[in-house]
């Protein structure tokens, strides 16, 4: 019995073939993604690498996708630091890209902006259970009037949710009411919303994207980031360790952490909304190709890291940037260009880790000095897994990671001494796709793909 696991990435369509009993990796191949014509074209080209005998006896086909912009969600809540943040966490945890996050009553301008961004789904939160009703109802009414047709998940005040559903019914393609993302102040409950998003993805969104046939033929099951997240979850469970995944791509840098993030130092008080055990952040301005210009804006303030061992003229670098940011498939052509790519990758890792991890600040009280932590303390994370084209195909991913992990800010709670591993077969997504159905085969694939890169 074999399983064929496919990922329709933004650049490449990857196919992994594995034996289920006894578990074993048969091989992986890839071909450029064909989102502009038919996704299945790229799939057929990718599996050309396998022999007909190898493709015989496939019992399970499952696929993930981040093609055509991935799963795009607009999150709406009440207070930015509370229900908007909770709604964002829920959307990110479902493997989505949050294209807009709006607080308080939606303005006409915001509605227009959301329409332009063409989200696949709206996540409507606001109010704790029994708390504020006015804003979520007003926002439901504005969405109903707006001719936004995307499905809506209502995950706000339970006392207002049925009314919000009634307002939206027949106005949008589908309304699903689920548990509040913040049932009480400073209580995060993202699981019900994540599940609702997942179900809508299978039932509505693949259809809306014109991928019904993909779903039928290869079992399109989830957005790629969710597959990667499931792989990380499995890895953490199998090893009984706190782990992180860093995924550097052309358009975004994703970070996942599987750790409780509680304060590790004594005399430390935790403030703000609690963080989910499985936390994912997506940095849309940190990427190696499509987002290269925004990356440069971010790092120019700090100066390009000292990863370029020679004096590069502004012109030389600008020419490289022009070439690769317009053609997302293009690679570095010589040693000097490779050094540029290296510097960009290090900058992506460093900045994305910094944004994902929590911080501590000193506070002086009459009782003496205290530490106040916000966000997750990831300093004791035991293992860091690297994936994404920029790292998988790098010449020396270990030294890239070490450079990206070098702490430049002692108050930022990034991992200090994790063991490093590389998803060198680029099959982490396949691990996630198999994790629920065939955990043993998934574990085998995980072992097969993780290549140790030593310690920091």
């Amino acid at each position: 019995m074999k399983a064929l696991l496919i990922d329709f990435g933004s650049t490449f369509t990857k196919a992994t073939l594995a034996d289920l009993e006894p578990p074993g990796l048969i091989g992986t191949f890839r071909a450029p993604t064909t989102a502009d014509t038919d996704l299945m074209d790229g799939f057929h080209r990718a599996i050309e690498g396998f022999s007909p005998e190898q493709l015989d006896g496939i019992a399970v086909k499952r696929a993930s996708s981040s093609a055509a912009g991935g799963l795009k969600i607009a999150a709406v809540g009440l207070v930015p630091q509370l229900t908007v943040k909770a709604a964002r966490e829920a959307a990110l945890g479902a493997g989505a890209r949050v294209v807009a996050a709006c607080a308080y009553t939606l303005t006409e301008d915001e509605i227009r902006k959301i329409k332009d961004l063409k989200p696949d789904l709206l996540l409507l939160a606001g109010g704790t259970d029994g708390g504020d009703k006015r804003t979520i109802l007003e926002n439901a009414a504005r969405i109903a009037e707006s001719e936004l047709s995307a499905p809506v998940v209502v995950a706000g005040n339970k006392a207002a949710a049925p009314q919000a559903e009634a307002i939206l019914k027949d106005k949008v393609s589908r309304v699903v009411v689920t548990g509040n993302v913040m049932p009480d102040i400073n209580v995060l409950a993202v699981e019900p919303a994540r599940r609702a998003i997942r179900e809508l993805y299978l039932q509505e969104i693949t259809k809306a994207k014109g991928w019904e046939h993909v779903q039928k033929q290869v079992g399109l099951a989830m957005p790629t980031p969710l597959a990667v997240m499931k792989a990380g979850e499995l890895c953490g469970k199998v090893r009984g360790e706190e782990i992180m995944i860093v995924d550097v791509g052309g358009a975004t840098t994703d970070i996942h952490s599987f750790a409780d993030g509680a304060p590790k130092r004594s005399g430390c008080i935790l403030k703000g909304l609690p963080e989910p055990f499985i936390k994912r952040t997506v940095e849309g301005d940190l990427g190696m190709r499509v987002s290269l210009r925004s990356l440069l804006e971010v790092i120019s303030a700090k100066g390009l890291p000292a990863e370029i061992p020679f004096a590069a003229s502004d012109g030389e670098m600008a020419a490289f940037i022009d070439r690769v940011s317009s053609d997302r498939g293009s690679l570095a052509r010589n040693e000097r260009e490779k050094h540029f790519d290296r510097a960009f990758a290090v900058a992506c890792i460093r900045e994305a880790l910094r944004r994902h991890a929590g911080t501590v600040t000193e506070a002086y009280t009459p009782e003496g000095k205290l530490w106040v932590q916000s966000g997750k303390d990831l300093t004791e994370v035991e293992m860091l897994i690297a994936t994404g084209g920029a790292l998988v195909f790098a010449d020396d991913p270990g030294s890239l990671l070490k450079a990206g992990l070098r702490p430049d800010d002692p108050l930022s709670l990034t991992p200090r001494r994790p063991r490093l591993a590389l998803d060198h077969q680029y099959t982490l997504y396949a691990v996630g796709l198999l994790a629920d159905l065939y955990p043993e085969a998934a574990e085998m694939l995980l072992k097969e793909t993780l290549l140790s890169l030593g310690e920091v």
Binding site: L78, V79, Q81, L82, T83, G126, G127, T128, G130, G131, D132, K133, M182, D184, I185, N186, I269, K271, A363, Y364, T365, P366, E367, L370, V372
Partner: protein, 137 residues
């Protein structure tokens, strides 16, 4: 808002006195309030954000370390700015240091927009009774 029993509780500023805060939480809960306790070291913004999301009827501020006047200044104005105009504001504890009578302190905080001000040693029952009256419970 008559009939609204949701209240926000917390110790303001850099104050870390946690024991009284727990006692207040238990007392108000037993008296039938839905208590949203933000704990110690709570900023004005955190009180306001919590009150907006939970549509609370009152904010109860404690301050034990003598900086209450500084920490509480501007809270009423920010509440108005955030659309919480009529929310009840209670404050209690060792609100100031120095030689001032409680009636001076009381006046001072009322001027700052607080509805009720309590000196050290006040029993929770006193504030509970007044809060029930103020909230029409």
């Amino acid at each position: 808002m008559p009939g609204n029993n949701r209240i926000i509780l917390g110790v303001i500023g850099s104050d870390v006195h946690a024991v009284g805060n727990k006692i207040l939480e238990m007392s108000f809960q037993e008296a039938g309030f839905k208590v949203i306790n933000l704990g110690v070291m709570v900023s004005q913004e955190e009180f306001i954000h919590a009150a907006i999301e939970s549509s609370a009827g009152a904010i109860l501020v404690s301050s034990l370390y003598g900086h209450g006047e500084m920490d509480c200044r501007g809270l009423r104005e920010k509440c108005r700015e955030a659309g919480l105009g009529d929310i009840l504001l209670y404050v209690g504890g060792n609100l100031v240091v120095g030689k001032r009578t409680f009636s001076e302190v009381d006046q001072q905080f009322k001027k700052m927009g607080f509805d009720r001000v309590y000196p050290p040693g006040t029993l929770p029952e006193e504030a509970i009774a007044e809060l029930k009256r103020d909230l029409d419970l």
